[in-house]
Amino acid sequence: MGLRIQEASFDPGAELNAFSELSDGAGAIVSFTGLVRSTQGDPISTLTLECYPELALNQIGELVHEAHARFALLDEVVIHRYGTLNPGEPIVQVMTLSAHREAAFEAARFLMDYLKTDAPFWKKEATAAGDRWVEQRSADDEAKARWSDPA
């Protein structure tokens, strides 16, 4: 189980290679990378993530433990940056390791759906017209809600 919350940039490819070395009984690895997005129609110059580090370690730590148990994972890593990032840079990487593919895919999705709503970071985009705080999307709340659906 790995959790890193850091200002420094990271190389998702190198992280995946390092993660892939631990593999007793493993048949599946899934890796997801979230990037800073900027579109031509609405370009941003930078994305700044404010963070409450102590809460992030507690919240994401609990989340990772829950994923490990719920999906019977062999291993998992979450890396999340804060600070000022440029378009195209990685913000977050989630990697899961399991015996079969269903658990690896599901757990990676579960972790990302919860990271979008329950991880104490706040994003602010810098644009030509000024800075603006990013707002939560209802799609993210709906995605998270699916994991508690008793049906």
Partner: protein, 56 residues
């Protein structure tokens, strides 16, 4: 006891008052653990108030 405000809440003069009025929007944490707005603060080292999170 330290009180921490995050994101746009930090820029509002009446942040604490706003936070208490909108528990469905503003969340609270005591000693780096999320709590409901009726949690007791006696003995708390830090109280944090923050708007909806946009991590990930």
């Amino acid at each position: 006891m330290k009180i921490l405000y995050f994101a746009w809440l930090r820029t509002r003069d009446e942040a604490a008052e706003l936070a208490m009025q909108r528990p469905e929007i503003i969340k609270a944490a005591i000693d780096a653990r999320i709590v409901t707005h009726d949690a007791p603060i006696a003995g708390a080292r830090t109280v944090a108030l923050f708007p909806p999170m946009t991590g990930g």
